[in-house]
């Protein structure tokens, strides 16, 4: 066989210029047709998870620049009292919440389990946070999460629904209409993915309240992992790249305040736990404006290092906050046991 481009010997089997041009034209038409067909059939946007027709790029920046980079670590056992002291140390609730603000509190209500098992946000802590916002003049306090399985029962059993009712906070049950597709700029995973953007409608401040927990897949579940609950769809596809998705979630929204509850820490068998022996009293509450720093400080309560939970440094590298939380010069307060 001769190589392409070599001169053919003259004779019956040699290629003529006309035939060559015909064949070359035919091949070109075929190649261009294949390319055109592929380009025509390729759906670059993928299936739209919502019907809004609008692709979001983020959920918003709710941080308050004047109080950026602050942290308080309070030792004690009374969550409400610890929260009170921590917020006061950061400048007072008025530094974060102004009159007329509409505050969304993102809790962890991922499981229909009682507060005693420590798998979800403690309802008393949530209630204390909600009350504080209302006292500061918030026009409305809303609370939400997206537990895939039976949200009503999750809010009910975790005590969040009752705590919301008792404080005047309004519960947002994740319904299909609340989700809109979002593509994070530069994101590899959050592409046309449904997120609970409807819960952010009219919201001016965002507060995350989460427990410190072991997590079988991610290594730890704290503030950043808590934002996983803003995702809709079959989000378990992200479990194969859990550090990657949490890193992207860290860029989804900038919270006003993060409240990380290490009063009782789920040291083993997270994120569900199940046995009271999975919990250990760490008697610590971490409150920060920086979600990455809050998680980094929470790691110490879990007796883990940054290398055990890669997404914290990844979120730092992505610009979501500081993995070296000591750079924030945290205020340390001891209220005693």
């Amino acid at each position: 066989m001769s190589k392409f481009g070599e001169t053919q010997p003259r004779g019956e089997s040699a290629l003529t210029r006309r035939d060559f041009i015909k064949r070359a034209a035919g091949a070109s038409v075929l190649a261009l047709s294949a390319g055109a067909l592929y380009a025509g059939l390729y759906d670059g946007r993928g299936p739209s998870p919502g019907d809004t027709g609008k692709i979001l790029t983020g959920l918003g920046d709710f941080s308050v620049p004047a109080v950026a980079g602050r942290m308080a670590i309070v030792r004690g056992t009374d969550r409400a009292a610890m929260l009170d002291r921590a917020v006061a140390a950061l400048g007072g609730i008025e530094s974060f919440i102004q009159k007329g603000d509409r505050v969304l509190i993102k809790v962890n209500a991922a499981f229909a389990t009682p507060p005693s098992l420590g798998a979800t946000t403690n309802p008393e802590l949530f209630a204390a946070m909600a009350r504080m916002c209302l006292v500061a003049g918030a026009a409305g306090v809303f609370v939400t999460d997206n537990p895939i399985n039976n949200p009503e029962s999750c809010f009910d059993l975790t005590g969040i629904a009752e705590a919301a009712a008792s404080t005047g906070a309004r519960l947002i049950i994740p319904g299909e209409g609340l989700f809109s597709p979002l593509t994070l700029p530069g994101g590899k995973l959050l592409v046309d993915w449904p997120v609970m953007a409807g819960a952010f409608k009219g919201v001016t401040k965002l507060i995350a309240v989460a427990p410190v927990k072991d997590h079988a897949r991610a290594g730890a579940s704290m503030i950043l992992k808590n934002f996983y609950g803003l995702l809709g769809g079959r989000r378990n596809v992200f479990h194969q790249n859990i550090a990657g998705i949490i890193t992207e979630l860290s860029l989804l929204a900038k919270p006003t305040l993060c409240v990380l509850d290490g009063t009782r820490v789920m040291l083993t068998n997270g994120p569900t736990g199940g046995s009271l022996s999975d919990l250990k009293a760490a008697d610590t509450l971490i409150v920060s404006t920086d979600p990455v720093a809050a998680d980094a400080a929470g790691l110490e309560l879990l007796e883990r290092s940054l290398s055990d939970v890669p997404y914290i440094q990844m979120a730092d590298a992505a610009g979501a906050g500081k993995a070296d939380y000591k750079l924030l010069n945290p205020v340390r307060i001891n209220l005693g046991a």
Partner: protein, 357 residues
């Protein structure tokens, strides 16, 4: 040569035949370039992971989405009537696609160990106490799979129960395996009245799920020593036997590896045992484990006092030992001293010689 590949022939009269010129050559290369560009474009687009597409493909067409927890299950009757409690909810069933809806990130532990289905139901005590019991029944691929998830979550220091071979309780919960099922009974408190209901609930569930004799016989492999018997008793920490169904120690493909923890004087170590299908595979996996350790910074050290054929390695004060006997691959993982690694390797070797005769 077939007519199909017959060389090109002129159909009409002689044509002017000239060598392929530079323009024709360029045109040819241009066609090839177009083809390569199309191929490259297709490959690049194909490789770009779009989670929304993956999820949509899994779910099927819109409206076909399976309702989480709504799957009918043959296991559901197990959670019908139980002593001392009444149902607070309907039975919900979860398959491999929906398990994470119920237990989120812990689903991977089950999925990697041969998970088939889980049924759940909540109960309250009939005596009027305000308490709650969540009962989870996991149907796994085999008794080994059930043991893997049982042992992978075993709470340190929990009291072993006589309920089944693999059973323990904590202050508020009871965990056990029966055949290929793993069960959790979780109460919301450790109040005495609540705790008193755990054992009767466990016994009732065991009675409903106990495998038939024929099934038990089928699960037992003739002439095979039980994995637990391959671990020597001196220094063994009770209740530390675990089974990694996949990727043991982080080594991809290293599956069905039993481990047990030891306290040897001041030192700690983990023994491991894997029964391979044949001797050749045991040798192959020995080499795989050694390569994995060497790739991760371990160095082989001299250990004349180790059992014959054992390879001992060290990295930053952590010691490993790997050896084989027939189709058995075993050794020591993360010993905190050289002496402990060699002593445990020797004890494992002695046990293997006795049990694998």
């Amino acid at each position: 040569m077939s007519t199909l590949f017959k060389p090109f022939r002129l159909r009409r009269g002689p044509k002017r035949i000239t060598p392929v010129g530079p323009a024709e050559r360029r045109a040819g290369y241009a066609v090839l370039c177009v083809l390569l560009a199309v191929l490259a474009y297709a490959l690049i687009k194909q490789s770009q992971f779009n989670p929304a597409v993956v999820a949509a493909l899994r779910e099927g067409p819109a409206g076909a989405k399976k309702a989480s927890g709504a799957t009918a299950s043959a296991l559901a009757p197990v959670l019908d009537a139980l002593p001392g409690v009444f149902p607070l909810s309907e039975v919900e069933a979860f398959d491999p696609d929906t398990l994470s809806d119920k237990i989120d990130g812990k689903a991977e532990l089950y999925l990697s160990s041969g998970f088939k289905e889980m049924v759940w139901r909540a109960f309250g005590p009939t005596d009027g106490d305000k308490a709650r019991f969540d009962i989870y029944v996991y149907d796994m691929a085999s008794p080994q799979s059930a043991f893997a998830v049982f042992s992978g979550q075993r709470r340190n220091g929990a009291a072993a129960l006589g309920l089944t071979e693999n059973a323990y309780s904590t202050g508020n919960a009871l965990f056990f395996t029966v055949g290929s099922r793993y069960l959790e009974i979780v109460a919301d408190s450790d109040a005495p009245a609540v705790k008193n209901l755990l054992d009767p609930l466990g016994a009732a569930l065991l009675a409903k799920l106990s495998p038939k004799l024929g099934e038990q016989a089928a699960n037992a492999q003739e002439g095979e020593p039980s994995p637990g018997s391959l671990f020597p008793k001196p220094g063994l920490i009770e209740g530390s036997l675990r089974l990694a169904m996949s990727d043991a120690f982080g080594l991809e493909g290293f599956s069905n590896v039993y481990t047990a923890d030891y306290k040897l004087g001041d030192a700690e170590a983990t023994g491991f045992v894997s029964i391979l299908p044949d001797e050749a595979q045991a040798q192959t996996w020995k080499q795989n484990v050694l390569k994995f350790l060497l790739d991760n910074g371990y160095s082989q050290i001299k250990a004349d006092d180790a059992p014959e054929g054992a390879v001992v390695l060290e990295s930053s004060g952590a010691f490993e030992a790997v050896l084989t006997r027939g189709r058995l691959l075993y050794g020591v993982h993360e010993a905190t001293s050289r002496q402990a690694a060699v002593a445990l390797a020797g004890a494992l070797d002695k046990q293997a010689r006795e049990k694998m005769r």
